[in-house]
């Protein structure tokens, strides 16, 4: 057992006083009375009662035990089991949920206090590893001293990212010795877990999206608490127009919600008006306007591409005849008419529609077009799609086929000089592909590949909460974890000491009542 607050032991000083009072009280007192006749009779009658002395010593024992229990409770005792290790790794959950505020203190603050307490209980020569865990790991201290650990704690704060348990599982196996994880979540861990915070009374927005086709705002709200909650939602735009909504969400439930704004605006902000533990996930910004969209330029003429790109509302599409050095930078360049990229396209994706320098030869026959099963178009079924006078692309190193025919690839994608590049050899004037519903889908999916599915610019401008507070299975235990040596953590026993003091007080009262 270790005591964190040695000053709390001062009540022990009262024990000599109790002993003094006890023995003074039990000193024989001499009293002269009128007649001892009646007391004599009482004494004879009470000869059978022999428990009194035992009770009085029991009373003294109980009084001392009460003082010790109170002193113990005040000195913040912790129980430590198992052998003392030389190296201890403290993993501190710094994910978004640790911002939760409970009784005026954030879970992260509580966690820091717990680590502080924990570090104070350790031997001075123990080596400390301190690792922050959120969606990634951050090793703050490796085999440092207790003092270094305590100093570092003062400087750290928690992030807006979720806790990634998969990442955590990888990093924790890299450390030896005792491992302690301080978090506000109920997670399985082969070391010891110090849980901070009691209640997570939170409503959070986990997702927000604007459906350009229907003009709907779609968002998700999750109730993390253990009770059904009525959530008050406000949806506002950049002009200050505000709509209010109200829903009831069951415990643990995540609810999809829709809102149809009258007009498309630049930005919509969905806010939860309820006060809860975590305010960081109560606001979600959904950028909608042109200025937030990634820009795509079609350089040259291609009627089919022009039409397809115009039908994609998520992008800021521009058509140009040629690119000159003074032009603004685009996120994706699509070169038609055998044009090649020149200046100003660094850090952007490029799609070449008829790159003669990558075309191996012309086949005079008609070829069927198929999607490649390993590509991101594998879900499409492009049967009965063909091209006349098919031209095939060269085999380009590290490029993957997207559309292909019997003699080779019509469309390939891959990385060139660190940027995403796509080549296409299809003659759009000699194929039924452009007339099929697959064509705009292929264009949209391809642009999605260039942008990693994210069509919006400057995401950092809006720090939206993550879709999950914890990534990974909280109850998952792999085989290695099961084999891990179980380490019993410091266990606070303050409450037990208080309970013991109360039980002893009741016992003392009973004994006192019987004795007198």
């Amino acid at each position: 057992m270790r005591l964190l607050n040695m000053q709390g032991l001062w009540p022990v000083l009262l024990i000599p006083l109790i002993l003094l009072l006890y023995f003074k009280k039990h000193q024989e007192k001499e009293i002269k009375i009128s007649s001892i006749k009646i007391w004599d009779e009482v004494l004879k009658e009470a000869e059978g009662i022999r428990t009194k002395n035992i009770n009085k010593y029991l009373l003294l024992f109980l009084e001392i035990m009460i003082v010790i229990s109170i002193a113990l409770a005040l000195s913040d005792p912790y129980l430590v089991k198992g052998k003392a290790e030389d190296e201890i790794t403290v993993f501190l959950d710094s994910s978004i949920s640790m911002n939760s505020v409970e009784k005026g203190e954030s879970h992260f603050q509580l966690a820091k206090e717990e680590i502080n307490k924990f570090l104070h209980t350790l031997k001075d020569d123990v080596r400390i590893n301190l690792v922050l865990i959120d969606s990634d790991e951050n090793v703050l201290l490796e085999r440092g001293s207790k003092k270094e650990g305590i100093d570092i704690l003062k400087k750290i704060s928690c992030s807006d990212f979720p806790l990634n348990l998969n990442k955590f599982s990888e990093i924790k196996s890299q450390f030896d010795g005792e491992k302690v994880f301080i978090t506000d979540k109920d997670v399985n861990f082969d070391g010891s877990v110090i849980k901070v915070g009691k209640d997570f009374d939170n409503l959070g927005i986990t997702y927000g999206y604007y459906d350009y086709y229907n003009g709907d705002l779609i968002y998700k709200i999750k109730n993390y608490s253990s009770k059904r909650k009525e959530v008050h939602i406000s949806i506002s735009d950049e002009e200050g127009n505000k709509a209010i909504d109200k829903w009831s969400i069951g415990p643990g439930e995540e609810k999809d919600m829709f809102f149809h704004p009258k007009k498309e605006k630049n930005v919509f902000i969905v806010s939860i008006e309820n006060e809860d533990s975590l305010s960081e996930d109560n606001k979600y910004t959904i950028p909608v306007g042109q200025k937030y969209k990634k820009s795509v330029v079609l350089v040259g003429d291609n009627l089919f591409f022009d039409s397809a790109l115009k039908s994609i509302p998520q992008i800021n599409y521009v058509k140009k005849d040629k690119i000159s050095s003074g032009d603004k930078k685009f996120d994706l360049y699509i070169f038609a008419d055998n044009q090649s990229a020149e200046n100003n396209i660094e850090d952007s994706g490029v799609w070449y529609l008829d790159p003669e320098w990558e075309i191996s030869g012309l086949k005079t026959r008609t070829e069927e077009i198929h999607e490649d099963e390993g590509s991101f178009l594998s879900d499409l079924d492009m049967s009965k799609t063909y091209v006349n006078n098919a031209k095939y692309l060269n085999d380009i190193k590290n490029f993957h086929p997207l559309l292909k025919g019997e003699g080779g690839s019509f469309m390939v994608y891959g990385m060139k000089k660190g940027e995403k590049v796509m080549y296409s050899s299809l003659d759009f004037n000699n194929t039924n592909f452009v007339m099929t519903p697959y064509f705009p889908i292929v264009i949209k999916e391809s642009i999605g590949w260039f942008f990693d599915g994210d069509y919006l610019l400057d995401k950092e401008e809006f720090t939206n909460p993550p879709s999950q507070l914890v990534v990974g299975d909280m109850n998952n235990r792999d085989a290695n974890e099961r084999k891990a040596v179980s380490y019993t953590p410091l266990k606070p026993i303050k409450n037990y000491s208080i309970l013991l003091a109360l039980v002893l007080l009741v016992m003392e009262w009973k004994v006192y009542k019987n004795a007198f």
Binding site: K25, E28, K29, I31, K32, I33, W39, F516
Partner: protein
């Protein structure tokens, strides 16, 4: 003291039955004498006082009759006051209350022209000279002030006293705490001597409701006997039962003998005690 005497001055100590013995005084006795109260006629016998012949009766009957009158006697009031060492106890000392009561009874007795005797009670009991007349009250006060607690309680000493053997009848106040042997014998003796007995038992609050705890060495004030006792709640309860039964026993013993019994705590008002005791006579 003056207040106390003023407050009790309306009380009178009267015998409940006709007196048989005693000097001529204010109370109707069982004998015939020279009072104004006609009692009866009887036939003249030679040597009767001729002044008592009822001549009117002779004229009607031609026989000589003597007129008889009742006799009025003085009552002899005695106070047996326990001044043994056991009375020197209590937050309000029992002996102080006993002395005050004795002064009150003495005052009432002398004020109504009766004879008052004061008998201190311990193992060296002696009787103070009987006194009569209001002017003797100061003498009584001096005697009472000079007396203190000493010796042991010995009720049987009373039986040996001339004061009770010399004459019969009268009123006797017994003021004691009752701690002593053979009090029943004394009560029997007094009743047998035709005394109207009034028994005032005084105990201190500490004796009725003891507040003592823990380990005690109890010393008997009279005998110096020692009892070592480690008192607990059960023992206290037992004591309370026993002291109550001791009081009840004295009460029932008095009732059986037609004795007026009054229980008083040493802190009680002496005026109230006297009203309770004498008021019932």
């Amino acid at each position: 003291m003056d207040d106390f005497l003023r407050q009790i001055s309306d009380l009178k100590i009267k015998p409940r039955k006709k007196l048989t013995y005693g000097e001529i005084g204010n109370y109707r006795s069982q004998s015939l004498g020279n009072s104004m109260n006609f009692y009866d006629h009887r036939q003249y016998i030679p040597q009767d006082d001729v002044r008592r012949i009822d001549w009117k009766a002779y004229m009607r009957t031609k026989n000589l009759y003597i007129r008889q009158f009742t006799e009025e006697k003085t009552v002899h009031i005695k106070v047996i006051m326990d001044n043994s060492l056991s009375m020197d106890y209590g937050t309000s000392v029992k002996f102080d209350l006993a002395k005050t009561l004795t002064k009150g009874i003495g005052y009432l007795t002398l004020n109504q022209g009766d004879i008052f005797s004061f008998v201190p009670l311990n193992n060296e009991t002696y009787a103070e000279t009987s006194i009569k007349g209001k002017d003797k009250f100061y003498q009584l006060l001096k005697v009472l002030d000079s007396i203190s607690c000493e010796g042991m309680t010995d009720y049987e000493n009373i039986i040996r006293l001339n004061e009770f053997n010399r004459e019969r009848g009268g009123i006797t106040f017994l003021i004691t705490d009752g701690f002593g042997e053979n009090i029943d014998k004394v009560l029997d003796f007094l009743c047998g001597r035709g005394e109207e007995v009034l028994f005032i038992q005084i105990l201190s609050e500490d004796e009725v409701e003891p507040e003592v705890n823990d380990k005690l060495k109890l010393i008997d004030k009279e005998t110096n006997e020692i009892v070592k006792i480690d008192i607990n709640r059960i023992m206290k309860d037992m004591y309370k039962k026993k002291i109550n039964s001791f009081i009840d026993n004295n009460r029932s013993m008095s009732l059986k003998r037609d004795i007026v019994y009054t229980f008083a705590l040493s802190s009680d008002s002496p005026q109230e005690i006297l009203r309770k005791t004498i008021g019932g006579m």
